[in-house]
Every structure is written in C-alpha cells, then in structure tokens.
C-alpha cells in the first residue's frame, strides 16, 4: 500500500493511554477512589508512603485489567511481576511507583478501527500493565508553592501501549474513540478525560516514504480527543518545518497549550531517565491460572464490532444505524428491548436515534420504557395514530417519565389524536374544504389534478391531523369527480 503522506512526509504515531480501573478502593490499600473529596482525606499509611506500610493488590483491579486486556485481544500472562519505577517527585509518596516492567500482565493484542483516511486499520497493542497513579500537584493554588493532594495516589490504572501504527492525527483520534468504546463496553473504566480517568501521551515522528523511523517526541497535556488531534497536527507541522529547514528533531517532551493550539517543548532533556526498575520485593509474582483467565474471557460482554455486525445481520439495519446504536451498550440494549417488545426494527432504530437519543444525551437515561415505545411504534404501524401525532404522544410519555402509567393509546385518545377512518366524518371535512375553495375545485375539474395534494392537506388541517390520510383521498376523489 502506498504510504499516506502529508506534504511529502509520512507521520508515525504511537499512543500510551492510561485508564483508571473502576474499583471502589485503591490499587494497594483500602482507601476510597471517589473523585472530588476534600484533599488528603482518602489516605492511609500505604498511599501516604509512611514508614513500615506495605502494598496488597486489589483483586478487582486485576480482574478489570484482565478484562480490558482480553477485550483488546491481548494475551494475559499466567505470571506477571510488579516492579518499582524509581523517581522523585512531590506527589509520588514512596519515591517509586509500583508498576509492571519486563513481565507485564498482558502483551500482543490488536484493535481494528475505522480510519478516516485508510478505512479499516489494525493497530497492534504492545502491552497492557497495571500500576498505581501518583497524587496531584497543584502549581497555582498557593503562591510560590506546589501543593500536593494524595487522594489520587494509589488509584489503579491500566497503561495501554499501542505500536507505532497510526499514520495521522485524525487516525489517532479515531483509534482513541474505538479504544474508549471497547473499554466502556468491557466495563473496565468510565474513561472520563474530564475526571482524569483516561489520559493520553502521544509519540510522533515523521519520515520520508521508505526512510527509517525519524526521531520521535512525546506530546502530553491533552484534555480531550479533539485536542489530541490538534496537538499532533501542531507537532507534525513543527517537525516537518524543522526537517525542511535542514534542522534535526530533538527527542523532547512537549506540552500542548490548548488556548493557542501550540505544542511547547518543555526543555531539552539534560539526561535520559534512569528509573532503575526492579521487581518489587514487597509483592510476590501475580499468578493467574488458565481457568481464571478463561473465566474472564467468558464473562466479557459482546464487543462493539460484534454488536454492529449482529445488529445488521439480525435486524437488517443499515451500517449507519448499527454504528449509531452500538456506540454505547445501553443504547443498543434499549433498541433491542423495543424490538423484543414487538416493534419493527427499522422503525425502532429511527425512534431510538431520534427523539429517544435526545433525552439520553441530556440525562444519560431513556425517558420512555421500551415496552411503551414499542406500543407506540405499533400504533403508528397500524395507522391508529399518524407519525406526526405519535411524536406528540411520545412527548407526553416522556414528560410522565418511565414511571408513567398511561399507555400510548390512552394518551392518543385523551389528546384526540387517534386517526379517524369513519367515512361519514371524513366526508364532512371534505365537504367543508370543497365549499371553502370553489376556485380550486373548478381548476381541478378543469384537469389540474395535481391539486389533489392541496385538498388532502386542507382536510388534514381542518381535522387537526386526526383524519386518516389513506381514507381521505378516496372520499375526495369521489366528491370531486361526482360533481355537485
């Protein structure tokens, strides 16, 4: 395949993603992981790094990390080892972070995603390992001071490292969207960038087609997927400009500055990191037997890719609908519940993607129970209410909420929205309309038959939408052609 070029350069991107594993307690101690508590209140001897304290790993964190690894197609290893990563920083209480190094929990996976430029692309996932988070340093809280909150210290994280397989900033963003979706599906993390439960560090280099890999830089401090894309675009331009000016790219870390959209080199690195990793002597190896790993695999829910395919094959939905519905597991589940309650799939999909989604996006939940919505869809199918009227009925149902007792048919009747099929009633409205528009009647009779639509519309209007449009036309035809 031809390399994808930007101004004659190929872009090579790899991402390191940290996600918070959604546990109640921290990775190595019994402190709460809850977000937003007063500073330094969720702390204990372990996460304060007090003398004599020892770590004990959280079983749920290991379970979630293994789930995430399996969902991303990685091989979970029967033995992995916790290691100490040594560096000094005020928000790192022990002077080392407990992580995994040469024996991570899982290696060698792959994620398929839809690249905006290349279609379906497979990214290798080199590794997923478990580690503890550091605390939070606040540099602007107290003048002249760095203030440290250790509530986050020890929160469990999975680090997911992709291969250098991404070829554009937009592709990096699309990969992140897919990765996030898989992790949400697997229930591994809530993946909220706002709350810091998903963080992205990006590595980028550029090269001429066919040339060896260029020097890479690391870009940090992006607070949304859109900003990951912006930051990588800025860094790509910076590197290309340097190389085209005959200069070299230095291996540096850059911070993204959102207001300007620029990346700012932190400083030239005076020395490379020397983290002095070694196995943590406080923690024997993490041993997971094959049956345990198989059980984690078996309990994985259907993943997005499989769900999309099933929505198309089982319900005959178009690809677009399947993608929208499979975006989040609750949406697809809602759709399937409506169909199970008797609604026609395409109509159900339209409702879910339309009115129902509006409420879901605003409140995080659906306003009408699947059974009620299915009843409403059946009323439309059977011609009991018009599609327009059904939207008003839906509004009433939504206002009453999921606890509302009134069925859709009762709502339609109360609002007088049930379609009138009675010929006598229809004839009455038709007569009124013909009497009110003599000129148009004359023109129709003179051969201008396209006015039929006008008359139907007028009848619908006069009946306030209650007239069954399928019944109106025969009555109109009879009256217009019958004279008098």
């Amino acid at each position: 395949m031809e390399p994808m070029l930007h101004k004659g350069w190929e872009t090579v991107i790899g991402l390191e993603v940290h996600v918070q594993l959604q546990t109640r307690s921290k990775m190595f101690c019994g402190c709460s992981t809850s977000f937003g508590d007063p500073p330094n209140t969720n702390v204990c001897p372990v996460c304060l790094g007090l003398p004599g304290a020892l770590p004990v790993p959280n079983a749920e964190a290991i379970r979630l990390a293994a789930r995430g690894a399996l969902a991303l197609g990685l091989t979970v290893h029967p033995t992995s080892v916790f290691a100490r990563k040594n560096y000094f920083y005020p928000d790192l209480p022990k002077g080392y972070q407990i992580s995994q190094f040469d024996q991570p929990l899982a290696t060698d996976g792959r994620v398929v995603f839809e690249s905006p430029e290349r279609g379906r692309v497979e990214v290798t996932i080199q590794r997923l390992h478990v580690e503890e988070d550091a605390g939070k340093s606040l540099h602007d809280r107290i003048p002249g001071k760095t203030a440290v909150d250790l509530n986050r210290a020890g929160v469990p994280l999975a680090e997911i490292v992709s291969g250098p397989d991404l070829r554009s900033p937009a592709e990096a963003r699309a990969y992140l969207t897919t990765l996030r979706q898989i992790l949400l599906y697997a229930g591994v993390s809530d993946c909220s960038m706002e709350q810091g439960s998903l963080r992205v560090d990006a590595n980028l280099s550029v090269r001429r087609p066919g040339a060896p890999l260029g020097t890479k830089t690391e870009v940090k401090n992006m607070n949304s997927f859109a900003n990951v894309e912006r930051a990588l675009e800025a860094e790509r331009e910076r590197q290309i400009a340097l190389l085209e000016a005959g200069e070299r790219v230095q291996q540096v870390t850059l911070l993204f500055h959102a207001p300007s959209g620029a990346v700012r080199p932190q400083r030239s690195k005076e020395e490379s990191h020397d983290y002095r990793y070694f196995p943590d002597p406080d923690l024997p190896p993490l041993v997971l037997d094959a049956a345990w790993i198989a059980a984690r695999e078996a309990e994985l829910p259907e993943l997005p890719e499989a769900k999309r395919e099933r929505l198309m094959s089982a319900y005959g939905l178009p690809a677009y609908d399947a993608r929208v519905l499979a975006d989040e597991p609750p949406v697809a589940a809602y759709f399937e519940a409506i169909v199970a309650a008797g609604a026609e799939p395409k109509a159900a999909a339209n409702w879910v993607m339309g009115d129902a989604m509006t409420a879901y996006n605003e409140t995080g939940r659906f306003a009408v129970t699947p059974a009620r919505l299915a009843e409403l869809i059946v009323l439309v199918r059977d011609g009991v209410v018009s599609h327009q009227a059904a939207k008003r009925v839906y509004g009433e149902l939504a206002a009453a909420g999921q606890g509302g007792a009134e069925p859709p048919l009762a709502v339609a009747e109360r609002l007088g929205l049930v379609q009138v099929k009675d010929e006598g009633a229809l004839a009455g409205w038709v007569d009124e309309v013909l009497a009110a528009h003599p000129a148009e009647v004359a023109r129709f009779r003179g051969g201008e038959t396209k006015l039929m639509g006008f008359f139907v519309g007028q009848v619908m209007k006069r009946s306030q939408g209650k007239a069954d449009p399928k019944g109106v036309q025969p009555v109109l035809v009879a009256k217009l052609n019958g004279g008098s």
Partner: protein, 121 residues
C-alpha cells in the same frame, strides 16, 4: 571496574543526596572498595537462566475491593513539615520542570517556555 567522581556525583543526583565537596573523594574511595568487593560475584559461573529467587510465598494474595483504610491516629496535618488548606506544600521553584520529567499533570499556564527556573539545578 573503577568508579570515578563523575559516577559518584551522577548516582548521588539520582538518589537526591547532597554530597559535600570535601566528602566526595572519600566516597569515591569507599564506593570503589565496596564495588570491588562485591565484584567477586563476576567469577561465579552461572547455569541456565532461572527465575528469580523468592524466599516467601510464590504467589501474591489479592485483597477484596472493599473500602477499609487502615486508620490514622494522627492525620497528615499533624505529620507534615508544611501543610495548608488540606495540602502538603513544597517550594514551587523547579517544580514545573520536574513535573514534566516525571510525567505528572501540569497546568499548561505553569510551564512558560523561557522560565529559567525550569532548568534543573
């Protein structure tokens, strides 16, 4: 194998230990003495690669995910050398550069590109 002054100073920097200048020569000598002594292991023939030795249990025992912290008889405020508004405090200067190095979160306004304080001492 011989350790020079630069090596001792490099290691002291990694370990964040101030070493007084008059102390350096003596430390160089003592570290060489120790490292030469432990280097006798170089003469030991080793067999095939083996898993690392473990004295204790071979497998880590996991903890249930329950919020149950070991209680503190005295809180952080009573232990900390400097503490305000519920937060541990350290001098700010030099902090931003270190944060970047350590991969910690840094507010973007905090890292001016030309702040001389970013250079580590």
């Amino acid at each position: 194998m011989s350790i020079g002054r630069d090596e001792v100073l490099r290691v002291a920097k990694l370990a964040e230990l101030a070493v007084a200048e008059p102390e350096v020569d003596r430390l160089v000598e003592q570290m060489n003495r120790i490292v030469d002594y432990v280097a006798q292991l170089d003469r030991v023939p080793l067999g095939a690669d083996a898993p690392p030795f473990l004295a204790g249990p071979g497998t880590v025992t996991l903890r249930e995910d329950v919020v149950r912290p070991v209680p503190l008889a005295r809180g952080p405020a009573e232990m900390a050398p400097e503490f305000a508004e519920g937060l541990f405090l350290v001098p700010r200067r030099g902090g931003a550069a270190m944060a970047a190095e350590a991969g910690s979160e840094v507010p973007e306004d905090d890292v001016p590109m030309d702040d001389p304080s970013e250079e580590a001492p």
